[in-house]
Symmetry: C2
Subunit: 102 residues, 2 copies
Amino acid sequence: MSEEQKMQKRESAIPENEVFVGKKPAMNYVLAVVTQFNNGANSVKVRARGNAISRAVDVAEISRNRFVQDVKVGQISIGSEELANEDGTKSKVSSIEITLER
Amino acid sequence: MSEEQKMQKRESAIPENEVFVGKKPAMNYVLAVVTQFNNGANSVKVRARGNAISRAVDVAEISRNRFVQDVKVGQISIGSEELANEDGTKSKVSSIEITLER
């Protein structure tokens, strides 16, 4: 299974009010965040792992400053997750979860 | 002035108990964090901008999990900074500040 497929499989299991930031341009995820708030969500969690962490911060900042200006940054947490590589070894990767709330 | 020189100029102005994460390998900054705690600091701020944000999270996680295990993640804040480009235009860049504390 390719990285892309894995990512899609993962994204399909994500509950509402969460946006999992990956490798696409930040504006794609900003759109997802803004849509959820426009659909009545009171909080949206922006999550990412590894190199996408920087993009997740961009997504939170762009959403908040440009599109949904009544929204504030709430809890931010960081952590480490262990991922299994295709060859069976494991690697640790950092993660972030940014809660945006009305 | 090159990017490298700008970065150095910036780093020289950084107060104690702060580590500004840039483009070097994460372990360089982990060493700086661990050294500050070993020198008696009770809290160290790990800061970064743009793409280095992911690395700053790595630095915080590696320091905490592997080297200074009595240290916890405290306040995490994100923001946007405006930087002047060399041609006079301005760009916005996201930033993060992670406080590690005993």
